[in-house]
């Protein structure tokens, strides 16, 4: 547990020292979401209807942006070898990296999402469901994303490969995340969607670090 805290602290410190790099994901999130109304036109009837889905799609892409570097710099400078030789297991390393990624990306998306909801004129009843689905969904993105980030180590054009690997895996989160927001706007009960998102999170928490560790082991060899 101490090892986990040391690793998370180091990643957060690196993210803060990196300055604007850490903000890139959330800036992309806001900018990309702002583009859509220019494309489809400022129709007050259409925007609330597509808003929930667009915010979720853009959140997936924003999370993807910062994933490529999750293990890459540690792999390039030999840190990964030392992390492997340390008392901390690769599974713990994977979990620490996913948590640090969520804290530097997911949390910022969570904060920015209500602002975008306002922009899309989503009804008030959709705000809490939006934040709730993001709260349950974005950690899943980080955990599953860690598997992809570990698999692309050593590959050329890793970023494109990462998108190909991960976007299909992100579809279930997108369906239930956006579905819950639509349901809330239509006045339906959204507890089932939230429970499924919670189930995804628990499954990812249990399985993703394990799969990531196996991929990292391959990269070290």
């Amino acid at each position: 547990m101490i090892g986990l805290a040391i690793l998370i602290r180091r990643d957060l410190r690196l993210a803060f020292r990196g300055g604007t790099d850490a903000m890139m994901g959330v800036i992309f999130f806001v900018l990309a979401a702002i583009l859509f109304p220019f494309g489809v036109g400022p129709d007050a009837a259409i925007l609330p209807r597509i808003g929930g889905g667009i915010i979720w799609v853009v959140a997936l892409l924003a999370a993807l942006l910062s994933l490529e570097r999750m293990f890459a710099s540690d792999h390039e400078d030999g840190s990964l070898d030392l992390l492997y030789l340390s008392p901390v297991s690769l599974g713990q390393l994977a979990l620490a990296k996913a948590i640090a990624h969520w804290l530097t990306t997911g949390v910022l998306l969570l904060i920015a999402a209500p602002v975008l909801a306002l922009l899309y004129n989503l009804p008030q009843s959709a705000f809490v469901p939006l934040v709730a689905t993001m709260l349950l969904g974005t950690p899943t993105l980080s955990l599953v994303g860690a598997i992809g980030a570990a698999l692309i180590l050593g590959a050329r054009r890793g970023g494109v490969l990462l998108a190909l690997l991960l976007l299909p895996l992100y579809i279930p989160v997108l369906i239930f995340g956006a579905g819950a927001i639509d349901g809330a706007i239509a006045g339906r009960d959204i507890a089932p969607q939230l429970m499924i998102l919670g189930g995804f999170l628990l499954a990812a928490l249990a399985l993703a670090p394990w799969a990531t560790a196996a991929a990292l082991r391959q990269a070290i060899e």
Partner: protein, 214 residues
């Protein structure tokens, strides 16, 4: 008591046998200087001994016990220095070192280790601004961290550690290694000759990777 022994050790990289049938024996308090041309398998051997690469054939034993029987124990006794400097440019030299110290459970006070390689004045400088030789010194200071701790690593695996070091720094490295050996430690060092070899000569065995091919 035997320190490190290997029996018929073999390594395969990308379907090519890098080396095979390697028998080494190293007693505590001795170093081994590995030589051989580029691509002769020095780095691969060090990575296999560290447990970073799986051995394709043969056994590695520490005090008579196979390292595959006690992987955690083996990881705890290895100090590995590779070609790259595992330092984060955005963090200072002291921050980089204290991260590794805390992760490995070493003494978190990095001052003596920095002092040992004469880089105490660089403690608060981000690694981004350091020269290649200075970075190397910070990397090597990690060895001193383990040395200053109780139950530090006993098996040092150093892959061309003197690359980019000035003569003064090579002496500091040699002194650090000699202190480790006098402490019943074991060190395996890949090298292309030079000052480090001369300084360690009295305490070191030599092994040329070309002997295997003959």
């Amino acid at each position: 008591m035997q320190g490190l022994t290997t029996h018929k050790l073999g390594c395969i990289r990308g379907e090519r046998a890098v080396f095979a049938g390697l028998d080494l024996a190293l007693n505590p308090g001795r170093a081994m200087l590995l030589s051989g041309p580029n691509g002769s398998g020095k780095s691969s051997l060090l990575r296999v001994l560290a447990g970073l690469l799986p051995a394709a054939a043969g056994r590695i034993e520490w005090e008579g016990t196979g390292i595959t029987q006690d992987r955690d124990g083996h990881r705890a006794r290895v100090a590995y220095i590779g070609h790259a400097d595992p330092l984060k440019p955005a963090l200072t030299a002291a921050e980089n070192l204290s991260f590794w110290a805390r992760l490995y459970g070493f003494e978190p006070d990095v001052e003596p280790a920095l002092f040992q390689f004469s880089i105490e004045t660089l403690a608060d400088v981000p690694v981004r601004y350091l020269s290649a030789g200075q970075r190397r010194r910070v990397t090597l200071a990690r060895l001193a961290l383990g040395q200053n701790s109780q139950a530090g690593p006993a098996l040092w695996l150093l892959d061309e550690p003197a690359t980019g070091l000035d003569p003064g720094a090579v002496s500091m490295l040699a002194n650090t290694i000699l202190a480790h050996l006098s402490n019943e430690g074991v060190a395996i060092i890949s090298t292309h000759g030079g000052r480090l070899d001369e300084l360690l000569d009295a305490h070191a065995d030599r092994f040329d990777m070309r002997e295997l091919e003959a």
